[in-house]
């Protein structure tokens, strides 16, 4: 059995920042990721990030991950276990894991779950043909492994992921035939949309996939237009001669471990699916289990980092550690989160999170 003060599950931006702040408060930290390399989504983000200076705006995702990892390596009280998947969280503070093929147990005082999110799929005829991929998978293939996915791509989804992966496909010299989205408007940032648009990639909103075709592999796809009620309009079919289709229709929180641990969950469309109830301290309905980042609601790396710092400080405080000016630090982090979510793009997220906190507080006061 391995012992630690704070266990952090997931080494994406949320987990890395949680590790830094828990370690700064003097905790012994164990940072675990199922991948070989830490950084989560950041390691394949070759584009510059938004946000403000505090969240490394203008810095590329890959470089943010390097900055955070350098801070982690400087701290002696952080131990890293990569190639390790957490399997279960149990009531007595015992956590089970599979580490490079070996089953192990970890005894912890407090846990931060920062497992991120996974890509949603889309149902249409022949969506199981080789050549139909998740956009994130294609990004990993290209930017981490240096492999082009094909020659001509249809991107399904005009959110930030669809737009950014399209841009990166163009940078890799792959043609993007079109970006389509069923919604009437582009969901991602318009500056990203303009960037791909001026390279000649058409964006068709109110369009979806009718079917993919091909025998052993993807040979093409038919798309069609949708009316106001999202019903296909006959006669609007368009055939595209493509060999790759990327699905970028959103992410959903990867929260199996929270379900298994018995945390109270709620379905929140605006946050990507089932998410854990939690309080302002990022603590779930189970004392000692904290969350940070996309697992608590699909958002951005900028907010994932701030949530990570918050979860780290609070987890440390809950087991008797502290740092100087702790209340000021927490206030600054809350202010950063508030600012990031205060615009029109953040409205849905802000409302969703407020609801989660209110439900948990109501539940807590009714059990008094």
């Amino acid at each position: 059995m391995k012992y630690t003060d704070v266990l952090i599950i997931g080494g994406g931006p949320a987990g890395l920042c949680a590790a830094i702040s828990a370690a700064e408060a003097g905790c012994k930290v164990l940072l675990v990721d199922r991948n070989r390399s830490l950084g989560g989504q950041l390691v394949k983000q070759t584009h510059m990030f938004f946000g403000s200076e505090k969240q490394y705006a203008s810095v590329r995702g890959i470089d943010i991950s390097k900055i955070l990892l350098n801070q982690i390596h400087d701290k002696e009280n952080i131990e890293i276990l990569n190639d390790t998947t957490i399997l279960g969280i149990y009531e007595d503070g015992v956590i089970t894991a599979e580490s490079s093929g070996i089953y192990m147990k970890i005894k912890v005082k407090s846990t931060i779950v920062a497992t991120g999110a996974s890509e949603k799929t889309l149902a249409f005829p022949n969506n199981d043909l080789p050549g139909v991929y998740g956009a994130g998978a294609v990004q990993t293939l290209m930017n981490e492994h240096g492999i082009k996915p094909g020659k001509n791509v249809l991107m399904v989804g005009a959110g930030n992921i669809g737009l950014i992966v399209s841009y990166q496909l163009l940078q890799a010299g792959v043609k993007v035939a079109a970006i389509i989205d069923a919604a009437p408007n582009i969901g991602g940032y318009l500056v990203h949309a303009s960037k791909v648009r001026r390279s000649g990639v058409p964006i068709y909103t109110r369009h979806t996939v009718k079917q993919a075709y091909g025998k052993d592999e993807l040979k093409g796809a038919t798309i069609h237009k949708l009316d106001e009620n999202w019903n296909p309009i006959e006669g609007t079919e368009m055939d595209l001669d493509i060999d790759v289709m990327c699905i970028a229709v959103g992410l959903s929180p990867l929260c199996e471990l929270l379900w298994q641990a018995g945390c109270e969950m709620k379905y929140m469309n605006e946050l990507g699916g089932y998410v854990p109830l939690r309080n302002e301290r990022m603590e779930t309905s189970i004392p000692g289990i904290f969350v940070a980042g996309d697992v608590g609601g699909v958002e951005e790396a900028s907010s994932a980092m701030v949530e990570g710092y918050l979860a780290g400080i609070n987890a440390a405080q809950s087991i008797g550690h502290t740092v100087c000016n702790i209340e000021e630090k927490k206030k600054d982090l809350h202010d950063q989160l508030h600012a990031l979510r205060s615009g029109p793009v953040g409205t849905k997220i802000r409302e969703g999170i407020t609801q989660l906190q209110t439900v948990l507080e109501a539940a807590a006061s009714s059990s008094l």
């Binding site: 510059m48 946000g51 940032y189 500056v191 390279s199 990639v201 205060s342 793009v345 953040g346």
Partner: protein
């Protein structure tokens, strides 16, 4: 419509440009950022205070073209690649555009390349005057192109090869 096509309207674009008088005085930045998103590095990059301080990080950037000298420091700091610099004093018939360009191969000085509009359409041919790819630019090179003045509001990208 920008929100459904990704292409800003003529009105949006003209609003982003400096006025006639300022245009004829020399280089100035053109910021095409029309949506309130949590982002402000353009403001932090400018050391002439030409971009007004953001009250809220979701504010749209507001530029004072009288303060801006077209130095271009903000171009490569904008994650949206939404900023370019325009200089109508370049020559009698051509204006100079300094645009961010993150594709390889980079053009070289003297190349004649396709001038593309905001939907990627070929508008006219343009001449590459300068290619900057310094450490400060951090992998967002800046390409200076000479554009026939009548196309100065149209061209926003270049196309090479096929």
């Amino acid at each position: 419509m920008l929100a459904s096509t990704g292409v800003p309207t003529r009105v949006d674009i003209e609003k982003a440009f400096p006025n006639e008088v300022r245009m004829n005085q020399g280089a100035a930045a053109v910021i095409e950022c029309f949506q309130n998103i949590p982002c402000n590095p353009c403001y932090t990059a400018c050391n002439r205070n030409a971009i007004k301080e953001f009250q809220d990080i979701n504010d749209l950037p507001l530029i004072d073209h009288e303060q801006c000298n077209g130095c271009g420091l903000c171009i490569s700091k904008c994650p949206g690649l939404a900023i370019m610099v325009v200089d109508m004093t370049y020559s009698e018939h051509e204006g100079l555009l300094k645009i961010p360009y993150e594709f390889i191969p980079l053009p070289v000085e003297g190349d004649i390349v396709r001038g593309l509009d905001r939907s990627g359409k070929h508008m006219c041919d343009v001449k590459v005057v300068k290619v900057l790819n310094t450490k400060y630019l951090d992998r967002t090179p800046i390409i200076s192109i000479a554009v026939p003045k009548e196309y100065i509001h149209n061209v926003r990208n270049i196309g090479m090869g096929d």
